[in-house]
């Protein structure tokens, strides 16, 4: 009779349903690592994402695919992959990832057997590993945790299914899934101590991994697996060697983070930092500036795998300003630089690097595929790029005249227009004392500001009798414009007036994140400005002619230090969320092994410190207790003592009854559950001794609590009976 009370089990159909759920989830989860890779496979990701709920909703559709479709599936997938490879030769990894996604999709929408489920696990693992190498996003940590848990559960379900029945075919009708009912069934049959044990083991595994992550010296997985070389990041056209009018403004539409910056000295943050990325010299007409081939040479040869590099200013004495920049992928291969620096250090030596001391530019071989971290030491915000005259000995062929070309404007009388305006400006700048670039800049900027207002939307259509060049046309029209118009126009005007000038693109400003205490610069901060050569000082002056900007970008008279940071602080939820990213970057980026060792040491010292404190506290308490005992006794002290003993006794009693409480679920009596478990176990073992135990165990499980025997004794006896 009581032998019938067995723990309920999931039947075969339910196991199949569970397997189907986990497999589908696993496929979707691994597909969603894709955004971390920056590989173009959105079509397949969208398909998989759409297929997952559909296949969960209607599992029976998995069997609907006709046989010929199954036979065709693999040839089609393989030929698709081959075409993919042919179309984009040399880039193997994206094609491989797309192939994996196709296979995942196929496995997702068709009925899976055991080996197919294992295939899903392996395919998913490939995606996760690739993402792990290519990405440094904090979300990936959550993804890999979810993936591991899901994969383990799937393997467990597979094993259970195997143990339950050797038959491979799922029972008919397994596709009639009511997920809510299944969830209830799983909840009912789950062996909670085992579930908790499993959960505990998993948590332990995660904890150990974290400890290993902190203490083990890190090596660069990416370059050792050659994977990052197989992927190329994408470049924003506004920050490439050729910038046409409007390209920088297009970047501004993207609110995403371009880079975040850790600053060493908050007092030294300038009011408006200008992040130089790229300098463009050649005007090609039609509003297009280009890094000319002559200047390209100045960028110097490719340096391979260097960890650090000296800059243009000398290392200051004392503690230098040190900024660490976490450059997000997908912006540019040119690194944003806020000022001249003494040294730049790379967290991971880039494959290729080009450095120009003349232009003060740093360029990676290609846009980074994942977050790229570098540290600038000894920043000098006052220093300005030195002119070509200073460096004539270094570089052949680069002179101030490289920055005065206006060749495309020779025809159509546009040059005359420009020269006329330049003259007008020079006159307005009072005494025509020549060659004072600063004065000219002031005049031109004022002149531009008088004629043109600022607007993001520019109405500058070509007309019959209007000048053909868009910038000259804009100057003639008096229409409002955006930073690119102002900067380009300034460069052309300066050149017409005989001053060497060049266009600079990058970012301007940034917001302070008070949670992570770092600067955040977004793509919407993209900006264009100009540099004009001051022959007297032999320096390039930064000129920001856009209305609303401080002309020489020095932010004179603006706020400083904490007051400044407070004024540019981002508060709110998104800032909090973004601060996580910075915390994560700080953790994973190490410029030397030292910082890691420091963390390890701090952790060790912290634990040791706790131990010492605890020991001292215990010793102190013991002293107190001994002293209290040695004092003469009176009735009050006796009362206190008795109360204490009583309290201990009550606690002991409570513990004996309630110690099983942690095993309980949903408020059901833990003793009843425990008794039920022992009943099942004894029944399963057919233990003869159990007959004597049956009555008390049944009473503990089903009887009134007031009639219970001592549970602890009964359970002990049951344990003994099971062991024997």
């Amino acid at each position: 009779m009581w032998t019938e009370s067995k723990r309920p089990r999931l039947n075969l159909a339910e196991l199949h349903q569970l397997r189907w759920l986990l497999g589908t989830m696993l496929a979707a989860l691994s597909a969603w690592t894709l955004p971390g890779m920056g590989i173009d496979a959105w079509f397949w990701l969208a398909l998989i994402t759409a297929a997952a709920p559909v296949m969960l909703w209607r599992p029976e559709w998995s069997g609907r695919l006709p046989a010929w479709a199954h036979r065709l599936a693999f040839p089609v997938i393989l030929s698709l992959a081959a075409v993919d490879c042919r179309m984009d030769p040399g880039r193997v990894l994206p094609a491989l990832v797309r192939l994996t996604l196709m296979l995942l999709l196929y496995r997702m929408v068709t009925a899976r057997q055991r080996r197919d489920d294992l295939q899903v696990v392996v395919l998913g693992m490939f995606l996760v590993v690739v993402t792990g190498v290519l990405s440094v996003s904090v979300i990936f940590v959550l993804q890999i945790l979810a993936f591991t848990a899901c994969a383990l559960l799937l393997l467990l379900t597979l094993t259970l299914g195997d143990a339950a029945d050797a038959a491979r075919e799922p029972p008919a009708g397994w596709t009639q899934v009511r997920w809510l009912a299944l969830a209830r069934r799983v909840h009912a049959v789950a062996n909670w101590p085992v579930v908790m044990l499993g959960g505990g083991l998993f948590a332990g595994l995660v904890a150990v991994s974290s400890v290993v992550f902190i203490f083990l010296p890190r090596f660069e997985l990416g370059s050792s697996l050659f994977l990052s070389r197989l992927v190329e990041g994408k470049d924003k056209t506004g920050f490439s060697e050729t910038v046409s009018l409007g390209a920088v403004t297009d970047i501004q539409d993207d609110p995403g983070i371009a880079f975040t910056v850790d600053v060493s000295d908050r007092e030294q943050v300038p009011a408006t930092p200008y992040w130089r990325m790229l300098v463009l010299d050649e005007y090609r007409g039609a509003g297009e500036f280009r890094l000319s081939s002559g200047l390209d040479r100045v960028l110097g040869p490719s340096l391979e795998k260097i960890a650090n590099l000296h800059g243009t200013v000398a290392r200051p004495t004392g503690s230098p300003i040190r900024w660490t920049i976490y450059f997000e992928p997908g912006t540019s291969k040119y690194l944003p630089l806020p000022a001249a620096y003494a040294q730049v250090i790379f967290a991971e030596p880039p494959e290729k690097l080009r450095n120009s001391r003349e232009l003060e530019l740093l360029s990676l071989g290609k846009p980074p595929a994942k977050m790229f971290a570098y540290r600038l030491e000894g920043l000098d915000f006052a220093a300005r790029p030195a002119g070509p005259a200073e460096r004539e000995g270094d570089v052949a062929g680069l002179s101030a005249t490289d920055f005065t070309g206006l060749k495309p404007l020779d025809k159509n009388g546009e040059l005359e227009l420009l020269t006329g305006w330049a003259h007008e400006i020079a006159v307005r700048a009072s005494d025509i004392a020549p060659a004072d670039a600063e004065k000219f800049a002031r005049g031109a900027s004022g002149w531009l500001g008088l004629k043109h207002a600022y607007a993001m939307q520019v109405n500058n259509p070509p007309g019959e009798d209007a000048p053909r060049d868009p910038i000259v046309r804009w100057l003639a029209s008096g229409q409002p414009g955006h930073c690119e118009y102002f900067a380009s126009a300034f460069v052309l005007l300066a050149r017409a007036a005989g001053f060497p000038a060049r266009l600079v693109v990058g970012f301007k400003g940034g917001r302070w994140n008070p949670h992570s205490e770092s600067l955040t610069v977004r793509n919407s901060d993209a900006h264009a400005w100009a540099e004009i050569y001051d022959a007297g000082k032999k320096l390039w002056l930064r000129v920001d002619p856009t209305p609303g900007a401080s002309l020489f970008g020095d932010g004179a008279g603006a706020l400083k230090g904490e007051a400044l940071l407070k004024s540019i602080s981002d508060t709110g939820f998104s800032a909090r969320f973004e601060s996580l990213r910075v915390f994560w970057y700080r953790r994973i980026v190490s410029f030397d092994q030292q910082s890691q060792a420091q963390i390890a040491m701090v952790v060790q010292q912290m634990i040791e410190g706790w131990g010492r404190e605890a020991k001292a506290w215990l010793r102190g308490e013991r002293e107190l207790a001994l002293r209290w005992l040695r004092r003469p006794w009176d009735w009050r002290r006796f009362a206190w003592g008795a109360a204490g003993v009583a309290l201990v006794l009550v606690a002991l009693r409570w513990w004996r009854v309630g110690r099983l409480a942690w095993l309980g679920r949903r408020g059901a009596d833990p003793i009843r559950r425990e008794a039920g478990r022992w009943l099942v176990r004894l029944t399963a073992r057919d233990a003869v001794e159990a007959t004597a135990l049956r009555e008390p165990l049944e009473r503990l499980r089903y009887g009134a609590a007031s009639t219970w025997p001592n549970p602890a004794e009964i359970f002990r006896a049951a344990r003994r009976a099971v062991r024997d």
Binding site: M1, W2, E4, S5, K6, R7, P8, A188, V189, A668, R672, G676, R677, L679, V680, E698, R699, R701, Y702, G703, A704, S706, T707
Partner: protein
């Protein structure tokens, strides 16, 4: 503690019940499970419906129970011309007192065997059913209390439906259980054949318990403890009959209460002051089957009865007992 039946009371109950059981088994050979069910019904204070062929010992069963517990036994043969007053009794004018005196009918015994209840017209059936429900008889402007304990054994012949008035499901709900006796085993039948007597009232059977014992047992039943998960299990079974497509309608609330009370009685019979899931499981078919009808009726009563029991067993197999 006072809410639940106390330990000594339970062991007393068990002793009494064991005695009755042993006594009945001496007469009803080879039908131990039937005897057990009858005792469950007795302790739960319910009434029995026995659906079986004539001559398999239904009368003997009822009589041996009545004798064992020292109770009055009456047998009413239901026929198509039986009147309600033939069952309940009738007021008779007494010349000496110049007043109507209520003459009690056979229903005023403690154990009443209503033989072939489906042969009587509905009016007579409902007269009996009213007594079963209320334990009282209303006649001639007076209310007369039936015997205590009071238990009805009603029998139906499942194979012969000519000229009968089958009880509707709503009426069947009044019976706690429906039993099926069946033929005895060959060895047991040989024993029966060997016995010298053949009429049931010739059986020599001495009482082993008193009416007070039985009443005390009946009062103990409601104190048998039912743990919450077991109660939920019971409710799940009842609820499953309501969603089962093969049944015309599910079990009523009264049916659920009956199952609980029967399970409590069975626990008492086993000497327990709490019920186990198996108490519920074992009683599901006998307590619930007669309250259910198939949505698509079977060819005959026997076939339908078997189909209903099979569906109930299927429901039970799908519902794991609480562990």
């Amino acid at each position: 503690m006072s809410d639940f039946v106390s330990g000594p009371a339970v062991s007393d109950a068990r002793v009494v019940l064991d005695r009755i059981r042993a006594n009945m088994r001496a007469t009803i050979k080879g039908k131990d499970d039937v005897v057990d069910q009858v005792l469950v019904c007795l302790v739960a204070g319910g009434h029995l419906l026995i659906e079986d062929l004539p001559g398999v010992g239904k009368t003997t069963l009822a009589y041996s129970l009545a004798r064992s517990i020292d109770c009055a036994f009456a047998r009413i043969q239901f026929t198509s011309d039986l009147l309600p007053s033939d069952v309940t009794g009738v007021g008779i004018y007494d010349e000496s007192t110049k007043a109507f005196v209520f003459k009690q009918g056979p229903v005023f015994a403690n154990v009443v065997l209503a033989d072939e209840i489906n042969r009587a017209p509905p009016k007579t059936q409902s007269a009996l059913l009213e007594v079963m429900e209320r334990g009282k008889v209303s006649a001639d402007g007076g209310t007369h209390t039936a015997g205590a304990p009071f238990m009805v054994f009603a029998t139906q012949n499942p194979t012969d439906y000519e000229g009968t008035f089958p009880l509707p499901e709503s009426q069947l709900d009044r019976f706690l259980m429906r039993l099926h006796m069946g033929y005895p085993e060959a060895a047991d039948e040989l024993d029966i054949l060997r016995a010298p007597h053949s009429a049931y009232d010739a059986i020599a059977l001495s009482p082993v318990a008193t009416r007070e014992d039985v009443l005390r047992l009946q009062s103990l039943v409601s104190q048998v403890f039912v743990e919450d998960t077991v109660l939920e299990f019971l409710l799940r079974i009842v609820a499953a009959t309501r969603t089962e497509a093969e049944f015309k309608a599910g079990i009523s609330v009264r049916g659920g209460l009956a199952l609980k009370r029967a399970a409590q009685a069975r626990a008492l019979l086993r000497g327990r002051d709490f019920i186990l899931p198996e108490d519920v499981q074992e009683l599901v078919v006998s307590v619930l089957a007669h309250r259910l009808a198939l949505a698509r009726p079977g060819a005959d009563a026997v076939e339908e009865r078997q189909a209903v029991a099979a569906v109930l067993r299927k429901i039970l197999a799908a519902l794991p007992p609480p562990v």
